[in-house]
Symmetry: C2
DNA sequence: GTGAAAGCGCTAACAC
DNA sequence: GTGTTAGCGCTTTCAC
């Protein structure tokens, strides 16, 4: 193999150690070094030991860029979430990253801030990086996103929602059903004038429509739908419940798009000395860390936030190892978790 | 350029569209396509328009793996944090990712769970992926980690702490000083028997030693140091304050390693009807979202969690663009933020 | 068990 | 402005 001429070598950053360097030092060919790393069982124990000692002493770290280019496998998975600073998504990403790293995969992270265009741009960037798999939040995507993904043919897991026709695989739960279940639960507890407080993300909206459906089916009043900004959830919850208490004194129960918003509401009620659930009942979503801790402890919809990440990782890993995924649509389910706030 | 023979082509996944394909279609050479993408100003407007239309119609997405291998620049930055599910780190990662993506950089994420060995393994994996830069949490690293990083010669930013001798660059604040400032503040408010509640991460320990130093300098009693697990912070805070109230009734103020632990403590006090700060004062750290919302609002040490990420990104981007970083050690500072809890 | 040759898709350097 | 040539460092295929 020819080395780069001196003239150009000088212009570029210092060359890192390559397989060739190790091979030369160990007196074998570079392919043997490659085998020691990737398929050690195909190398004689002596050669292996010798090469391994040189790898260690020379501090050789294989260039996975070159490896990925040649093998068409990067061992990188990309995850796209609305924002990493909401604990719901952080938990999913944590599960994903932990599970993947066990198998030597790394995670590329992208944030959309709930923008479909940002999602498309990220998907294109990640395809350009030839990631082995992609994890998406939600099931609503721009046509261009779906099209790019199909063309690239890489394994995709959509998460946090359910649909009959996923792009590829799916690990989520039915937000509409979950909303309906909470509507039924609240109605069953005797609440008749309800409000829903959430952002404008499609999954939150699905929870609202589900809840609305349940409530109307029982003949209760049309529920109020309060939109809050997706930034500071605790603060949004405080403001929302304040507004409900002041402007809509008839409301006797509020269902929040997630536990953090609900916790903000609970704190505001405590501050005002408003009785929960006596004056107003509060229910959250996701059973986040804060739900059982706040006063009063929050009734919520229990879902397995962390499990979504684990499941997505397992699906992708199965694909990577050539196994076929028996259940490409995985409904992780949910359950109503009753606590003191309702 | 020769194409791969049929026999091997069949064994591999369907070939993606390459620059060559676009070039052939547009009737130019592949290097012209490359220029249209990377340095459009060097191509005549007509050629450019023609090539661009083919890029769009064929859905061509450049292979950045190949580009990275050839150019030795991957446009990937890796960030290593203890865990993404603690909001302090999630905020830093958010800032980092947002700032980097503005310049076309992507973020590889690694979690250590506070393990130094895990950090070393991640650093080696990321070097293998030839990331352009690396962001580390803290300034305490295994000797092997430092050594690998030096050898690789890639830009590194350490965060969340301060040291005179960083590996390369630094964006943080002085945890010891911050602890001392809080110790002084609490002493100044009249508290005399203090406790510190935190995990075993080195930065938390530095906050404790700083606080201890201040308190002892004033001649107050040796502060109590409570270690809590790094898992569920709210719960840890509840348990810790319960333990203090029950077993150490003399303690009149508690300083928590972060606002989430402190918030858990505040909630427990509310639950027990314990007066804050009357019976016990509570102080947090980081001025997270929860600090002003919990009842009573938490006195805390204000730091710019998000800014750490932005600064780290800016330092790296400066390096990448050849600019020299005038301030390789950036002390972001802190300040005591007084609220109702003290 | 080991090696040689070819190529992954791109950019850098230099020609024209 | 555009093209040619020669790699980047690895894996794959096939020969020994």
């Amino acid at each position: 193999m020819k080395r780069k001429p001196e003239t150009t070598a000088a212009a570029l950053p210092a060359r890192a150690i390559t397989k060739e360097d190790v091979a030369r030092a160990a007196g074998v060919s570079h392919i043997t070094v490659s085998r020691v790393i990737n398929t050690p069982e195909k190398v004689s124990p002596e050669t292996r030991a010798k090469v391994e000692s040189f790898i260690a002493s020379m501090g050789y770290i294989p260039n996975m860029l070159a490896g990925g280019l040649a093998s068409r496998r990067t061992r990188i998975v990309a995850a796209i979430v609305p924002t990493i600073s909401h604990s719901i998504f952080a938990e999913t990403v944590r599960g994903l990253s932990e599970q993947l790293s066990l198998q030597g995969y790394q995670l590329l992270l992208g944030q959309t801030n709930y923008s479909e265009e940002a999602e498309t741009a990220l998907v294109e960037a990640f395809i350009g990086r030839r990631v082995d798999g992609l994890v998406l939040t939600g099931v609503q995507h721009a046509a261009r996103t779906r099209q790019r993904l199909k063309a690239a043919g890489i394994p995709v897991v959509e998460t946090w929602d359910l649909t009959r026709r996923p792009i590829d695989m799916l690990a989520g739960f039915d937000n509409h059903d979950a909303g309906r279940a909470m509507g039924n639960y609240l109605y069953g507890k005797g609440y008749r004038r309800m409000a829903f407080v959430g952002g404008e993300d499609p999954r939150g909206v699905a929870r609202f429509t589900g809840m609305r459906e349940a409530v109307l089916a029982h003949g209760a009043a049309e529920p109020l739908h309060l939109m809050v900004p997706m930034g500071s959830f605790l603060h949004a919850g405080r403001e929302a419940v304040g507004w409900l208490l002041d402007r809509h004194p008839g409301i006797d129960a509020a269902f929040f798009s997630n536990d953090v918003i609900a916790a903000g509401a609970a704190m505001e009620c405590a501050r005002r000395g408003v009785e929960v659930p006596g004056r107003i009942a509060l229910a959250g979503f996701a059973n986040l860390e804060i739900a059982p801790e706040v006063l009063p402890a929050l009734t919520t919809v229990q879902i397995s936030v962390h499990q979504i990440g684990l499941t997505a990782a397992d699906m992708l890993l199965a694909r990577f190892s050539g196994r076929s995924v028996e259940q490409p649509i995985c409904d992780l389910g949910f359950s109503i978790l009753e606590r003191k706030s309702t």
